[in-house]
Symmetry: C2
Subunit: 300 residues, 2 copies
């Protein structure tokens, strides 16, 4: 699982940084977390192909988290998208999307599904390869974070060994599930001879906008990576609290308490040109911290 | 009067080109014509200061002409704008702006006024220095172009000559209006001795999205500069017509027929990487044609 940052600034675009948007890639499939203004332009710039995108998650109704959504929805239609698109977001977003499309006299080229977020937590989508759960954060208006869990795809095939043991391709799916292969002559090829352990399932949490709180810690506990906002450096902790935002130090403290492996910071206030101090403050508490950079991809 | 192009692509952003947006500068005051996605980012990039902006004009309800509007409105509020903002656009736009702000629980820091466009033509705003009139174009949904006329500011003061003739500053406004100055000793300073002819009023027409038509030619007749869409090269004239758009050749023919001085082309389809052929086609009919480039400023 990987995360590509398309926008990591807070509401005001500044210093070339865009509002919130990121792509979570799970076994090559894209999930879009928030869709601030210019997300479609950022996708083009960073080579993110919309054909791999079927699920979009919007955390809350502040414009810097969704003003790029209808433009992206519309552009994919102009480009002749056929595959369904699934959008998960606050209930009122559906009306905005529909009204905007209606006023433009636009009929989408593809099936479009909208799923309103619940008040609390719920599984939003589950496939063979991933599961996404939403959880409430604490912001000025209702807001949700999203937990993405990849699933194991079973054991990893060793192709050379399989050929050597003359195992037919159709049996590979069973090998992935751990089965041994019985040859026509009755000889058994042990599964461990031709496979190794597959990649471990991963957990990534996009914590959206939130003031510093433990209220959602159970959802992110033990995650491989979390993205937590750090709108301000810790000197501005009072301002952060009043505005329902967090500081670098608060994000690091939560990462430590939740026992995660890696912390990604973002949602920087436009008052900061240089974001290195965010990393310095956070690393003093939680060493495995990255200050995200737009266009960069981070392993979960 | 000058025009700075912030976005000149059609609906799909492509090759680094953004959706429609342009700044008309009249005696240093900014008028924004359309506000496609990422306009606020383009304003930052090209040094357009929002403090000089009090009037925004939206041509129609296709997203590539207004998806950047609420973001810009909101950002100016976050930055503590105090001066009133006036937005002129299709009536349903008001509801979208209000709903979006309400859902974000946003109260603007400044007085905001919305003026719905009429069905036909009307003067939208008139000040001491300019007048803006809307006129209907022919598009798939209701659409308006905007005619900006600057007013004369009177004769141009020659400061050295004024000092030489000992004319006090308070009299300068009267000099601009053409009056002679009578000195205390009764001697008359003829106006022509201390002024020259002021800049001539200018006419600029932003023709928005439209198929090729003469229906609004009376509004743009004799303009110094018009911006006319050329979504397609002329080889695609049938596609242009079906989609209520124009070609480079059609734009040039209208410019010629309307007796304008300069033609600016834009709203290029995302299928064209190179826009030089638009200029070549148009110049064969109307030589004083420019293919606009984002970030460039054109004298009207």
């Amino acid at each position: 699982m990987k995360v590509t940052i398309l926008g990591n600034n807070s509401a005001l675009p500044a210093f070339g940084r865009n509002p919130t948007s990121q792509i979570v890639s799970v076994y090559g499939e894209y999930l879009l977390m928030d869709c601030g203004e210019a997300t479609q332009i950022q996708m083009q710039r960073h080579g993110i192909r919309w054909r791999k995108l079927e699920h979009i998650f919007i955390s809350h109704m502040h414009g810097d988290h969704y003003f790029g959504l209808v433009g992206l929805i519309n552009s994919m239609s102009l480009l002749g998208r056929v595959a369904p698109l699934h959008v998960y977001g606050p209930a009122p977003l559906q009306g905005i999307i529909q009204t905007t499309l209606d006023l433009a006299d636009t009929e989408l080229s593809y099936p479009f599904f909208f799923y309103p977020l619940p008040e609390g937590s719920d599984v939003l989508v589950e496939t063979d390869t991933f599961k996404v759960t939403c959880f409430p954060t604490e912001h000025r208006i209702p807001c949700h974070g999203f937990l993405v869990e990849s699933k194991t795809r079973g054991r990893k095939i060793l192709p050379a060994q399989c050929r050597d043991k003359e195992i037919p391709r159709y049996f590979y799916d069973k090998l992935k599930k751990g089965e041994d292969y019985v040859r026509k002559d009755g000889k058994v090829v042990k599964n461990e001879e031709v496979t190794t352990e597959g990649p471990r399932p991963k957990k990534y949490a996009f914590c959206a906008d939130t003031l510093s709180t433990d209220s959602f810690i159970e959802y992110i506990r033990g995650a491989d990576t979390i993205y937590h906002e750090s709108t301000y450096l810790h000197a501005e902790v009072e301002k952060a609290t009043v505005r329902y935002h967090s500081t670098s130090v608060q994000a690091a403290e939560l990462a430590k308490k939740a026992g995660v492996t890696q912390l990604l910071l973002g949602h920087y206030s436009s008052k900061y040109r240089d974001v290195v101090p965010f990393r310095q403050e956070a690393r003093a508490i939680f060493p495995n911290t990255q200050t995200t950079v737009e266009g960069m991809t981070y392993d979960v």
